[in-house]
Every structure is written in structure tokens, then in C-alpha cells.
């Protein structure tokens, strides 16, 4: 059957824009694997359209729900299309085998805890007689409310690419799509027998007994370094990047604060 003529989608302000401008989507090997599944579908031109939709920011919303991914994509019609993507979940016993394998290799946990997917983690999955990544069409169920009868369509493809990019940042997302959240996994590793450190950034230590002289204020060597350290924002759809928008605020805030300090507490 012939492909329908390419339609022009409505412009979106902002939208979730893919980070990669040219060449391959996603940098890390596991994100690439994910995308390989899609590209194995043999969609032809729709794939290209999907890529450009992802780059243009036609996808306006993505949310990860317990039962899969839901997204909204702006097409040529007024109302955006609804897209869902579901990956076949793994069984309870399979997960048990997998977490055992992770436990045996401390390096795995170290990397996962910090947003990295170990290359040989697939071996752990294979031992559990399953694959980490969806291998074929049957492992992935997709749906879209657009009139195009092809499934996956270009809208699904766009969302698929963006999810791939998010894997770059958070490999646990893949596990979540297969049935176990990050919290679940960490909870079953022996590492979590101790209470997990609370993410409470302002919780102070108990008071020191001997007052020490006031240590000097550090001068940041790189502007907005903390912002950079936090890295890429998941599914960012603002019209300019987070860093571009806020770098100036960081610089000016630090300058004003230094002036305030020098004027209010001089000579101390």
C-alpha cells in the first residue's frame, strides 16, 4: 500500500525537543539498543518523520505511568494525538534471578546508582532467560489516536526516540518499563538493609563542640556549576534550554550576594 502524503504538523511552542541535532539519537549503548528495536520494524519514511518530529518538539507531553508510557504529540489536527507504549513485563521469578545477579556484581550497583547501565548486565538478564531489551515487535505494544493506519506511526516513533534519550540519563527507566521501579530494585538488594540516606539537603550535622573560625566562602570556578552537575532535565520541553535560561540568574545572584556580604559584614 502506498504511504499517505506527508502532512505538515502544527507548530508547537516549546515541546520536548530531542537533544541530538544530527546523526544518531542517544549516545549510550543501551539507549541505542532500545532505538534499534524501533528501527528494526522497517517503517521507512515514517521513521524519518518520527525523528524530525522528535527534533522539532512536536511531542508536548510524556509521562511514565505504572502501566506504560503515555504521551501527546501535536500533528496536523488541532487536538494532539494520544500515544501509548507498553513493553512486555518480566515475571516475578525472572526479576528475582536478575536482582540476585546484580547483587553478585557490586560494580553493577555502583553504576546503576549513578545513572549508568553496565555493559554486561545483559548477561545477568540472559541467565534469567530473558532479554533486557525488547527484541521484536511482539515485545512492544504501541497505540496512537492518529488516522494513520500504520502502527507504529510517526507519532509513536517520535515518542520512542525521546524515551531512548531519557534512557541516557536514567537507565532505571528501562527496568520500570519492564515492571520494577528503581525503588523496588534498590530495596531488594542487600545494600538497602541500612536506612537509605534521606535526600534532605539542608539537614544539619550535630553541633560541633569546639567553635572553629569561620571558613572562607568558596568562589565557584565555573558559573552555575551545580546546575551543570545536575545534568539534563528529563523530557525538557521549554523553549530554551534550562542552562541558557538560568545561567544569568546564577551569575547575577552570586554577584549580588557577594556585594551584600562585603557591605554588611566587612572587616570580619
Amino acid at each position: 500500500m502506498a504511504n499517505p502524503p506527508p502532512s505538515k504538523p502544527r507548530r508547537v511552542r516549546g515541546g520536548i525537543k530531542a537533544q541530538s541535532k544530527r546523526g544518531a539519537f542517544a549516545e549510550r549503548w543501551w539507549a541505542k539498543r532500545w532505538i534499534a528495536v524501533l528501527e528494526g520494524f522497517g517503517l521507512g519514511a515514517r521513521l524519518a518523520r518520527g525523528r524530525s518530529y522528535a527534533r522539532q518538539g512536536q511531542v508536548t507531553q510524556i509521562s511514565i505511568e505504572p502501566d506504560g508510557v503515555r504521551a501527546e504529540v501535536q500533528g496536523s489536527r488541532r487536538a494532539p494525538y494520544s500515544v501509548t507504549i507498553q513493553v512486555k513485563p518480566l515475571s516475578v521469578s525472572q526479576w528475582r534471578l536478575i536482582t540476585d545477579a546484580i547483587m553478585r556484581t557490586p560494580r553493577f550497583a555502583a553504576m546503576l546508582l549513578n545513572g549508568q547501565m553496565p555493559e554486561d548486565i545483559e548477561d545477568a538478564f540472559r541467565e534469567a532467560q530473558c532479554e533486557l531489551f525488547p527484541q521484536s515487535i511482539t515485545d512492544v505494544r504501541t497505540d496512537c489516536s492518529c488516522p494513520d493506519w500504520s502502527n507504529p506511526c510517526k507519532h509513536v516513533a517520535a515518542v520512542y526516540y525521546l524515551i531512548g534519550e531519557e534512557f541516557d540519563r536514567d537507565p532505571f527507566l528501562l527496568f520500570a518499563l519492564r515492571g520494577r521501579t528503581r525503588r523496588d530494585i534498590l530495596a531488594t538488594l542487600t545494600l538497602d538493609d541500612e536506612p537509605s540516606p534521606e535526600i534532605a539537603p539542608t539537614r544539619a550535622h550535630p553541633a560541633p563542640t569546639v567553635p572553629a573560625p569561620r571558613p572562607p566562602v568558596e568562589h565557584p570556578q565555573v558559573n552555575a556549576w551545580l546546575l551543570r552537575q545536575a545534568g539534563r532535565f528529563p523530557f525538557w520541553h521549554g523553549s530554551i534550554s534550562l542552562e541558557d535560561a538560568l545561567s544569568v540568574v546564577y551569575a547575577r545572584a552570586a554577584e549580588h550576594a557577594l556585594t551584600l556580604l562585603a557591605e554588611t559584614w566587612p572587616d570580619d
Binding site: 511552542r13 509521562s63 557490586p106 560494580r107 550497583a109 555502583a110 553504576m111 546508582l113 549513578n114 545513572g115 549508568q116 536514567d170 545494600l191 541500612e194 540516606p197 534521606e198 535526600i199 539537603p201 539542608t202 539537614r203 544539619a204 550535622h205 550535630p206 553541633a207 560541633p208 572553629a212 569561620r214 571558613p215 572562607p216 566562602v217 568562589h219 565557584p220 570556578q221 556549576w225 551545580l226 552537575q229 545536575a230 545534568g231 532535565f233 528529563p234 523530557f235 520541553h237 521549554g238 534550562l242 538560568l246 540568574v249 546564577y250 545572584a253 552570586a254 554577584e255 550576594a257 557577594l258 551584600l260 556580604l261 562585603a262 557591605e263 554588611t264 566587612p266 572587616d267 570580619d268
Partner: protein, 950 residues
């Protein structure tokens, strides 16, 4: 009427209230002072504090930083509003918040506001080690009132830790937000993330969207920030130790360790750590995070199946690890143990420039501009390097090299500069250059002969010649004054400028006069110019008459002062020309034309602003030597130091811009200890400061050090004085017996009041400043007292004068001033005395001379000022002794104010001369004065021309 202001934390900001003060009054008082805060910055609310309902003002978040900043380090704001200790606490907390913002330790976020039921975009602080330690101290010291608002009905107040957290959150958000420019108003059609960005920069932080969108955003923000915020609250952290090899080609080891936070010297290797379950997660998470910052760490994780010990690097890898990766790791909370030589602590391993100065050929003694021959050597540790070796080092690809058994980090810029000096360096230096280099800790100067001796003396490593007191000096120099005088001579003889910064009362005047006398005796060629505040001119003249009567002095002051050519002739005939700062600037051209033996600045803080006219004129004078006298602790006021040093030794601290860059900002804003140390090295040799409390001085000072301070009258006072004399002239001749006595006492009392202040005399509420010489001098001296955190009693025999002083001083110094007079009830009196004696009590206490009885213990004062005199030594001494008593641990300085050229001076002289039999004859009152004849009285009360300041 004084009122104390309090502040407690509330949801939107701070709640302000004052006991016994209604909100409208408070709003008016504060509104006056803080008129530039945003309107609507104050609104009223009813609330409950410690169980009772009160009215309070809400200070909203955006206004909290400017308000607290204005309150910081002060005791009072506006008229009669005392700052409560809780507000002072919030000021300290604001300081921490500002430091957090200055270090850019904040991240954008989103949070649900339960009270208003909306979501807000906000900036949240992210504390590191340093901030946590400071916060811990703050938490432990929070006054209870700070948390008073957080209790609802029947609920207990929220703990201090959480309260501080909330304050920091409010303050950091307010600070960051105030720096952002407000963008275009968001509308609901914009993407959610854009709206979030705008809400972060808008004064209104509300973020509007569907509940699902907002929850989603909150989850995304949490996921995004997790990596950064996961600073473990655990006892241990990951630490990397860099171990250097013993030979050039061997590998460097980077070893993983677990380090205890409370005792950084406690280290465990990873293998042992792995066996203990409690530390595994910390270790793994930290290693994982470190792996993202360093590819070598990531690789190391791949190569082992079990917990890994670390990794190896070659020298090039080690260099990039040390110079780049190390900082990143440190920033993310990972400990680092680096070699001492890398951190620059071990000077043996640093590249040093040495200047070897040859014995000088100058015969007639070294001066600041004498030229010296110099040889340059570059060395590392003890070993010097040849030019060729240096070139080899400069050609290295990696600036880490092993030299003579030591690893050295070779700074390429330093190397290039060193090579340059070696090849083309100056062969000749002036003594001033040599001194400047010597004081710079980065250059090593070797000098022999008299140059060496000079440099050692400047650095205090060798003593300079101690002189005998100059001939013609009346009165004794105490041992420390002899040393000060010798020091002044040593520096000025070589052509360096000197700053004598002794504590008040140690006798800077006599030390300076000794030097001037000596120079004049040696060679009566050119005069010395002395510049001082107008109120002190009389004092200098009196002191010179007393100690160095042989010195011809002229005062350049007043409408009839000499000008033009006559000026040149006049000054040449004198040893010392005294003038004021005001006139220095007005007659600048005159002063610039003369050649001065030396220029002495008294109260040198008057030129602390380098751009001021007087500072400029003073630098332009043609002076053989330069001396500055001041009672303030000069080295503590970094900002003022440049102007002073630039006058004394031009160029020694570089240009003003360089000074700001190298010293002012690093020291004041960033508290850099290295910069502070360098500044101390470079200015130290030219400043001599002794404190009353110095052990070497205490023995030389009498426990009770009494001094007369000679003041002048203003023109207004002088004409009032003359008017009183005229008024009583007739009555004096005409009356006799009892009436005569009464008349005399009335006249004396009026004259005293005139000498005090025209406003006291006239009993009107006229403005105070600029109308009394004594008041001006008192304010100047109290400023010095307060600057060193000392305390003073101020006595006056007049209750009205006491009231005037208390109010005036309270306004002038923006702090509480206690005032005790006859009508004060005992309970209140005891309370005042208690407060004054406490550590952080008010520093100034005005008392009427006969107030209270004996039994007042005011020993925490170390200064006593007698603003006016009761001419009965016994009564006066009793007042003084309230401060000086057994139990007094400090020296007490007693300052007696005397208006020169008036009855005060003459009656004082009379008492002094009769001192031996004074107690017997005089009795307990001032009635003895009425026994004198009219002729004698007229002599005593006459007004001489020199009494007037202008």
C-alpha cells in the same frame, strides 16, 4: 523611650513585634527607616506568641534580606528601636544564606504550599560541608523567640533545626529571586517548563497548571536533582589518595579509601570497608558518582569483579587528575588526599626566585632610593638551577617533574618569569624595591651587610638602635615610649614612612614630639608640618609647651593666619607648624610650595578615603619623612589601609585597583587567609601598635592613667562666654558678703555651662552638632574607644548636660547609652549597673557626678571621661574610683576635659599648684573659690584669644 523589636519565623517571612508598642506606631517607626522596601511590605496580622495574642507586622520574604542587612551589627535602628537578640540571630542566618548564594549552591525546584494550596516555583539551597557545620552552630544557638510563631493552638513549637532550614529556604529564594530580572508574564498556553522558568524569576512564585501536570513536574524535578542531592548523611565518605612514585617512570597510584567525616584522619581501605555492610552502599554510590566525573575511575570499576582498590596513572594522567579532576571530585563531596608539594605547603619543593643583593657601596648610610647590585638565582628547595635546566623544564609537556629527589609542580608562568629574570633581569634595585620584594613571601631575598641588616630590622628579626631621650625634653619617656621614638627614628632616617598606632593614652604625642625635637636639635633647617583635627590643635600646643618648650611652634589657623610669601618666611622660623585637615585642603597651594622636614598626621584615619581632597593634598606634599598617628587598629580595616600606606610609602601596596583585586576583595568577601597574610607581611614593618594590655607595657603604665584633654571653644561659645563675663562684671564689684558668694558661684556655674555646650547654657532644644569643642572631642575619642570594644563612663556635674550627652551619643553611635542621675530610683539604678557590668551590655554610661552613693561598682569600664570638672579633687576622685577599684583588671584611663584659655584651665592650674595642701584648704565644695579676691578672680575667668578654635 526605647522599645525592643523582635522577629520570629512565619510561613511567608518574618513576623515583627515589640512589646507594649502598637502596630500603627511600629509601622510608622519602621516605615520611616525602611521607606525603600516595597510598599505593602508591612501588613498587620493578629497572632499568638507564647500563649498571648498580640498584634504583629508581617515582613514578607522579598523584604527580609534588605531588612536584616540594615539591622546587622547594629544595636539600634531608627529612633529608640533596639534590635532584639532574635533579630541579631536572623542577621547571622542571613549571612549564611548569602554565602550559600555567593557559592551558587542552589537549585531550582517546585513545592506545594499547604497554607495557600498552590504550587510554587522556588530556589532551594544545597548545603555542603562548610554550610552544614555553620548551620549546626546556628541551630544550637537559636533564641527561643525565633520559633515563637510556629506553634499553633496546642501545638509545640517546631524544632530549631527545621526552623533554620525554613529560614534558609526563604532567604535563599528571596536573594536569588531579587537578582533575576522579571520576564514577560507567563500565560497558561505556554509549555509547563517555560512557565516554571518564569515563575522562578517572578516576584510571584505561583505556578499554575493541572494537578497532574504539577505532580509530574515535581517528580521530574526530584529525579533530575537526585544525583546532586544524594550527599550522604552517613558517617563516612569516599576518599581518594594520590600516591606519587619514587622514580620518574613508575606509575602513580590513586587509592580508594573510606574517610570518617568527623575525624578526617580515620581512613579505611576499601577491602576492609567492603566487609562491613554498613558502608557498602555509601561506597558504591560514591564510586558510581565519581565514575561519572572521571573516566579513569569508571575504567577501574570495570576491571575488577569485586570491590576495587583504585587505579594507576602515568605522570601525564596524574597531572590532569590533580589539576582538573580533583576539584570536580572535591565539589561533589569526595575527599582527596593530595601530596603536600602539590598543595604548595612544602616550600622546599617550590620554585623560588632569589635575589642575592651584594654589599652596598653606598658610604653614607642607606636611604630608600639608594641603588643596589643584585644577582638573580632560581632555585627549587636548596638547589639552584641553571638557565639551561630551566629551559628544559619550560619545554616539558607535563609540568610535573622530579628534581633532586622531589616531585615538583612547575608553574609555567612562574618559570617563564624566572627565566626572564635570570637572563635579562635588572642588575640594579633601589632599596625600596628590595624591601617590597623582601616582604612578598613569594620572593626570597638574600642580602648582606647593611642592606641585610636593614631588611632584618624591618622584619623585626633584628632590633634597631635604641636611642637615649633627646636633650631638651622635659618629662620622662617610659621604656616603651623610648622604643617607639627609636623606631620612628629608624624608619624615618632611612626614608620610610611610619605609622604609630598605639592605643589611646599611651602617649603618641610625646613620642612624636621627641622625634621632632631631636631632628631640630641636630639641624634646625626645615620645619615639620603637623596636621590634626581642629579640636586637637589646642592639645598639641599644650603638650609641646609642657614637654618640648624649646621648640618654636606656630599654629596656622584662624582668620588672621599668615598667607603667601609671609607664610614661607614664617614657617622657616619654626620647628613645628600645626594646622588642621580643613585648612590643609583650603590652603593646599601654600603647603605644597614649602619643603617640609617631615609631615606628621594625627588621627590619620582622616585620610582613609584615598580620593578625598585631604588625602590627595597630603600625598602631594614635599616631605623628607612621613609619619601617621592613629589610635584605631589599622590592620583590621583593610579598606582604609591602602590610603594610609600610599601616603607613608607610595607604591608599596601597588595601585588602588591592584590592591582591590589582590587584597580587598579576597580578604573581605572571600576571607582568603593567604591574601590576609601577604598583606600583613607587606604592611607590618611600617606599623607599630602597642595595647594597654600588652604585658610589656602594663608594667610601665600606672594603673590609673590621668590625662588632661585640652579643648577649644567655638566662636559661639566664645561670644557667650564674653557675654557672661560682661554681665557679671558689675555685680562682682558691687556685692559683698553672702550675696557676693552667691554671685560668684552663679557666674562660675554659667561659665562652666558655656564651656560645655551652648544648648545646655540656653536650656533650649537647639541642634547640637558643631557647637562645642568638648563635645566634638568627646565624640572622636569615644569612637576610638568603641572601635576596640572598650567601655567608658562619662561624668558631668549637670543633670541637663547628662541628658544631652546621653541622647546625642545614643544617636551618634546608634546604640544604647545608659544615663544615671539623682532622680533615678534605686531599683532602676541597680538594673543599669548590672547591665553595664555584663559582657555584652551597653558600652557607654553617662553619670551625673553625685549620682548614686558609694557602692556603685562599674569596673567593666576602662575609660573615665570627666566632661566638666568639679573643682574639688576628692569628689572627682571618688567618681573616678568607681571604675578603678580592686577587682579592676585593666588599666583605667582618666580623661579630664579642660577648655584652654578659659577658667577651666586656670583653675585647674591653681589646684595643681596647691596640691600639697589642697585637700585641707579646699574642703568639700567649691566654696573656696569665693574666698579669692576680685582681682584674682578676674584673672582666673578671663578669656584668652587662643581659647577659640577659629
Amino acid at each position: 523611650m526605647l522599645t525592643i523589636l523582635h522577629a520570629a519565623l512565619a510561613d511567608q517571612g518574618l513576623l515583627l513585634w515589640a512589646p507594649d508598642t502598637g502596630v500603627p506606631t511600629l509601622r510608622t517607626l519602621l516605615g520611616e527607616r525602611f521607606s525603600d522596601l516595597t510598599p505593602g511590605g508591612w501588613h498587620q496580622t493578629g497572632t499568638v506568641v507564647a500563649g498571648s495574642a498580640i498584634q504583629a507586622l508581617i515582613l514578607e520574604a522579598p523584604n527580609v534580606p534588605p531588612f536584616l542587612s540594615a539591622c546587622a551589627r547594629r544595636e539600634m535602628i531608627g529612633s529608640g528601636i533596639v534590635i532584639g537578640e532574635d533579630i541579631a540571630y536572623w542577621c547571622e542566618a542571613l549571612r549564611l544564606a548569602a554565602e550559600i548564594v555567593a557559592a551558587q549552591r542552589f537549585l531550582p525546584g517546585v513545592a506545594y504550599d499547604k497554607a495557600q494550596k498552590i504550587y510554587r516555583a522556588l530556589w532551594e539551597p544545597v548545603l555542603g560541608e562548610r554550610e552544614r557545620t555553620l548551620a549546626a552552630t546556628l541551630t544550637a544557638t537559636m533564641p527561643d523567640l525565633c520559633r515563637a510563631m510556629s506553634a499553633g493552638k496546642g501545638r509545640s513549637p517546631i524544632d530549631a533545626g527545621t526552623t533554620l532550614e525554613r529560614f534558609l529556604a526563604i532567604a535563599v529564594d528571596a536573594l536569588v529571586r531579587s537578582a533575576a530580572t522579571t520576564p514577560v508574564r507567563a500565560n497558561d498556553r505556554m509549555p509547563l517548563h517555560d512557565r516554571w522558568l518564569m515563575a522562578l524569576r517572578d516576584p510571584n512564585s505561583e505556578l499554575r497548571a493541572t494537578p497532574a501536570e504539577l505532580r509530574g513536574l515535581a517528580a521530574q524535578v526530584e529525579s533530575w536533582r537526585r544525583a546532586v542531592l544524594e550527599e550522604h548523611a552517613t558517617e563516612y565518605r569516599l576518599c581518594l589518595r594520590v600516591e606519587e612514585p619514587q622514580t620518574e617512570d613508575a606509575p602513580w597510584h590513586i587509592v580508594y579509601l573510606l574517610q570518617s567525616r568527623s575525624d578526617p584522619s580515620l581512613l579505611t581501605d576499601v577491602k576492609t570497608a567492603w566487609a562491613k555492610t554498613g558502608m557498602r552502599r555509601t561506597l558504591l554510590a560514591a564510586l558510581g558518582r565519581a565514575a561519572q566525573l572521571s573516566p579513569q575511575i569508571e575504567t577501574s570499576l570495570r576491571q575488577q569483579t569485586s570491590a576495587t582498590w583504585g587505579f594507576n596513572l602515568d605522570t601525564s594522567g596524574a597531572y590532569s587528575f590533580l589539576s582538573e579532576t580533583a576539584w570536580l571530585l572535591q565539589q561533589s563531596g569526595i575527599g582527596l588526599i593530595l601530596p603536600a608539594w602539590w598543595l604548595g605547603k612544602n616550600t622546599k619543593a617550590r620554585l623560588t626566585t632569589r635575589a642575592r643583593i651584594k654589599r652596598s657601596a653606598v658610604a653614607a648610610g642607606l636611604r630608600i632610593d639608594s641603588l643596589l647590585d643584585v644577582n638573580w638565582k632560581i632555585a627549587i628547595g636548596d638547589a639552584s638551577l641553571t638557565a639551561r635546566e630551566l629551559e628544559q623544564l619550560a619545554a616539558l609537556k607535563v609540568p610535573l617533574v622530579r628534581i633532586r629527589g622531589q616531585w615538583v609542580h612547575v608553574d609555567r608562568d612562574e618559570l617563564r618569569a624566572a627565566l626572564e629574570r635570570l637572563k635579562n633581569g635588572q642588575r640594579k634595585l633601589s632599596v625600596a624595591d628590595a624591601v617590597r620584594m623582601q616582604l612578598d613571601p613569594r620572593i626570597w631575598v638574600e642580602a648582606r651587610g647593611d642592606v641585610g641588616v636593614l631588611l632584618e630590622r624591618l622584619q623585626g628579626r633584628r632590633s634597631f638602635e635604641e636611642l637615649a631621650p633627646p636633650g631638651g625634653l622635659l618629662g620622662e619617656l617610659r621604656p616603651y615610649q623610648l622604643r617607639g621614638y627609636s623606631w620612628l627614628r629608624f624608619l624615618t632616617k632611612t626614608g620610610f614612612g611610619a605609622c604609630l598606632a598605639d592605643d589611646m593614652g599611651l602617649g603618641k604625642t610625646i613620642q612624636a614630639l621627641s622625634l621632632i625635637l631631636r631632628d631640630w636639635c641636630e639641624d634646625a633647617a626645615q620645619p615639620v608640618l603637623l596636621v590634626c583635627p581642629t579640636s586637637v590643635i589646642g592639645n598639641w600646643v599644650r603638650e609641646a609647651q609642657r614637654f618640648t618648650p624649646g621648640l618654636p611652634i606656630v599654629v596656622h589657623h584662624g582668620v588672621n593666619r599668615v598667607r603667601d610669601a609671609a607664610f614661607q618666611r614664617e614657617v622657616k622660623r619654626h620647628a613645628l607648624v600645626v594646622t588642621s585637615y580643613a585648612l590643609l585642603h583650603r590652603d593646599a597651594e601654600l603647603f605644597k610650595l614649602s619643603r617640609w622636614r617631615g609631615v606628621v598626621l594625627d588621627e590619620a584615619q582622616n585620610i582613609k578615603n584615598p580620593e578625598s581632597k585631604q588625602a590627595r593634598v597630603v600625598r602631594a606634599l614635599d616631605a623628607g619623612y612621613r609619619i601617621a598617628l592613629t589610635g584605631t587598629p589599622v590592620e583590621n580595616h583593610v579598606g582604609d589601609l591602602w590610603s594610609l600606606m600610599e601616603f607613608l610609602n607610595p607604591g608599596i601596596l601597588g595601585s588602588h585597583a591592584t590592591f582591590k583585586r589582590e587584597f580587598l576583595i579576597p580578604i573581605q568577601a572571600m576571607r582568603d587567609p593567604d591574601a590576609a597574610e601577604r598583606l600583613r607581611c607587606m604592611s607590618g614593618p611600617f606599623i607599630l601598635r602597642r595595647l594597654k594590655s600588652d604585658p610589656s607595657i602594663i608594667a610601665d603604665l600606672p594603673a590609673k592613667n590621668e590625662m588632661k584633654i585640652f579643648c577649644t571653644l567655638t566662636r559661639e561659645q566664645a561670644s557667650l562666654y564674653a557675654a557672661v563675663l560682661r554681665e557679671y562684671e558689675e555685680s562682682l564689684t558691687e556685692s559683698d558678703g553672702m550675696r557676693r558668694r552667691g554671685t560668684i558661684l552663679a557666674m562660675l556655674s554659667k561659665l562652666k555651662q558655656v564651656c560645655n555646650h551652648p544648648a545646655q547654657f540656653a536650656r533650649d532644644r537647639s541642634p547640637l552638632s558643631g557647637r562645642s569643642g568638648k563635645l566634638a572631642r568627646l565624640e572622636e575619642m569615644l569612637e576610638e574607644v568603641l572601635d576596640v570594644d572598650e567601655r567608658a563612663l562619662i561624668f558631668t556635674q549637670f543633670a541637663e548636660m547628662g541628658a544631652i550627652l546621653a541622647q546625642r551619643l545614643s544617636e551618634r553611635f546608634a546604640r544604647e547609652v545608659l544615663f544615671l542621675h539623682g532622680a533615678v530610683p534605686k531599683v532602676r539604678r541597680d538594673e543599669m549597673v548590672d547591665r553595664f557590668q555584663k559582657d555584652r551590655g551597653p558600652a557607654l554610661f553617662v553619670l551625673s557626678l553625685k549620682a548614686g552613693g558609694s557602692g556603685l561598682n562599674l569596673t567593666s569600664a576602662n575609660h573615665v571621661f570627666h566632661f566638666d570638672r568639679w573643682w574639688n579633687p576628692a569628689v572627682e576622685n571618688q567618681a573616678t574610683d568607681r571604675a578603678f577599684r580592686i577587682g579592676q583588671t585593666k588599666n583605667v584611663q582618666v580623661h579630664k576635659f579642660v577648655c584652654a584659655g578659659t577658667l577651666e584651665e586656670r583653675i585647674d592650674a591653681l589646684i595643681e599648684s596647691k596640691r600639697a595642701v589642697a585637700e585641707n584648704i579646699i574642703g568639700s565644695g567649691e566654696a573656696w573659690l569665693t574666698e579669692l579676691s576680685n582681682a584674682k578672680l578676674r584673672e582666673l575667668v578671663a578669656l584668652s584669644a587662643e581659647a577659640v578654635e577659629e
